[in-house]
Symmetry: C2
Subunit: 336 residues, 2 copies
């Protein structure tokens, strides 16, 4: 069997068909919301071409199959499942967080209403498990269990994130715990699920998961940096939206926990019930002056290095290891 | 091994421990919402004794294990899973339907807010699959798949139900399809899941599921009848709440599709944007006069009879068949 090249650009095509077949099982009303959210259709249900998202998790899942010396296609149910869980979490998070924009478009709940968006999210979660449990081979059940446990962690992370919004003092460690659950857990699951589906040994699966856990934290750190200093045209999020929503992102929390006048001024701005546009615009420079930006950049680099070390432990084929590192590199250098 | 008696009153105790152990895995914030919703805690998180719900689905799941000649305990992961899926669907449905009361208490979303209630529902769904996938034995994966497919049907049913609210013309057949997905699918899954966990043959699993599908429609018909003519003190729902929310329940749809002056008057009252209290109170008698009540009562009886025939096909032990029929009888005669 010829190995399908699993570079980030080819993945979407490989996964797209399987993803569409899975989502096509939903009832027509729920399908419409899901197709809009996934970028396949406009608000009226007409097809559109623009792909949604980076397909990072499916790419990792297919690579993960190759890490176990299996053809990438054998990781396909895993790739579909992690993308569905990701889509589910974005759909519901947007409702919970009152985020009105997702990937340059109105969030699904603003278009179809909250009830339909809640229901479509539920459907995508259940579908992820359904797809995995249909996969041939013994690894299917273990992979599905990994996705179920990962979803519990995703929820714990979102729950802690919402809790942060009501609190004054947040430590860097608990903020890292939150990101580890909310973001890194699904990336870790993606990095191991293809191998798990192929019945990989525990040590290999563990090493791939550890790689993904560090990669995931790096991903979140870069995401948080982009939220403060990224180009809105590239990120698809309005400028200062993280600041406006008082998001307790890692650089902000690191800055708030630093000593010095900038940290104090920052804390004051975060405690204020109302902030002017000028005050909002002053926040990113204050985070930087308090050392939050440098810390986050260094921590992201450190995590990527540690992630790479897990790949050495895993003794992967050179080509597979190179692709994993390529994705890690993409994550740290991306602009959206 | 001594067979544990699986009468409706003993089930709660048997299932309660396993259910609490599962829900105990959730993060403390999500746990609190779930514990309130399940009736274990009050709004402050203090324990309370009153059990929530009838534990109908867990009772069926344990009986289902006995139908496969397995001890009822082997159906426990299935009993926990179907109760978790049921709890998930009630949590989310209450948000979608704007129902403020559940089992005589304020609905969880009115107490903890929508975001926390959405998240707790997600957690209960994922947990259902997690519990099943940990169950020992080969049947675990097949049972989990059944729950995932059932959840997709649950969602299709709720989606169609929400669609009904926006429409004038609804046929009795599509209303039966809706109930079959929204209500009967999970009851059918409950009736087969214990046997499936034990690795039952396809014909046995199919017969048990067919029993549950007819039982489930009967259950919904009785529920709809109670919604119109039940005692609010027993049902826990305010009087006329189904009528007020324009719920397209089976007796109402049957009445609307009948000929005659009562059906016309009923259609007019359902089309009116505003209705007085007197007009609302006139609806149940109109449904009855148009034949909706008699049709629903007869259809429920017919479904229970058909359900019983599936049990004959399944060739169950006499004691197990008697308990299934006992539950069917309980369902048709209940007052809440």
């Amino acid at each position: 069997m010829t190995a399908v090249p699993v570079s980030m650009t080819d993945v979407r095509e490989l996964v797209d068909g399987a993803l569409r077949a899975a989502v096509g099982r939903l009832d027509p009303r729920t399908y419409r919301v899901a197709a809009y959210h996934l970028g396949w259709a406009d608000e009226e249900g007409h097809p559109r071409d623009a792909p949604a998202g980076k397909a990072l998790r499916p790419a990792l899942a297919l690579l993960s199959a190759r890490a176990a010396l299996a053809p990438p296609e054998s990781g396909l149910p895993g790739a579909v499942a992690v993308e569905l869980v990701h889509a589910f979490s974005l759909l519901h998070d947007d409702i919970m967080d009152r985020d009105r924009t997702r990937r340059h478009r109105p969030a699904a709940w603003t278009v179809f209403g909250e009830p339909s968006a809640i229901l479509a999210g539920d459907a995508l979660l259940a579908l992820a498990l359904e797809v995995l449990l249909e996969a041939p081979g013994q690894g299917s059940s273990r992979a599905a269990r990994s996705v179920a446990v990962t979803t519990r962690r995703l929820i714990a992370g979102q729950s802690l994130d919402m809790d942060f919004e009501t609190r004054r003092q947040i430590g860097v460690d608990e903020c890292l715990t939150m990101s580890s659950d909310k973001t890194a857990a699904l990336i870790a699951c993606s990095c191991s699920i293809g191998a798990v589906l192929d019945g990989a040994s525990e040590p290999l699966a563990d090493a791939l998961e550890a790689f993904g856990a560090d990669l995931g934290i790096a991903f979140q750190l870069v995401d948080d940096l982009l939220g403060l200093w990224g180009d809105p045209a590239a990120t698809g999020k309005p400028a200062l939206s993280d600041v406006r929503s008082r998001k307790m992102s890692l650089p902000v929390v690191a800055a708030l926990n630093a000593d010095g006048p900038e940290a104090k001024r920052l804390a004051k701005l975060y405690a204020q019930p109302e902030r002017t546009e000028d005050e909002l615009a002053a926040i990113p420079p204050l985070v930087e002056a308090a050392g939050g930006r440098a810390w986050a950049e260094l921590e992201a680099e450190r995590r990527i290095q540690r992630a790479a070390e897990h790949l050495v432990t895993a003794r992967l084929p050179d080509a597979v290891r190179a692709e994993f590192l390529h994705i890690a590199d993409f994550i740290t250098r991306r602009d959206h």
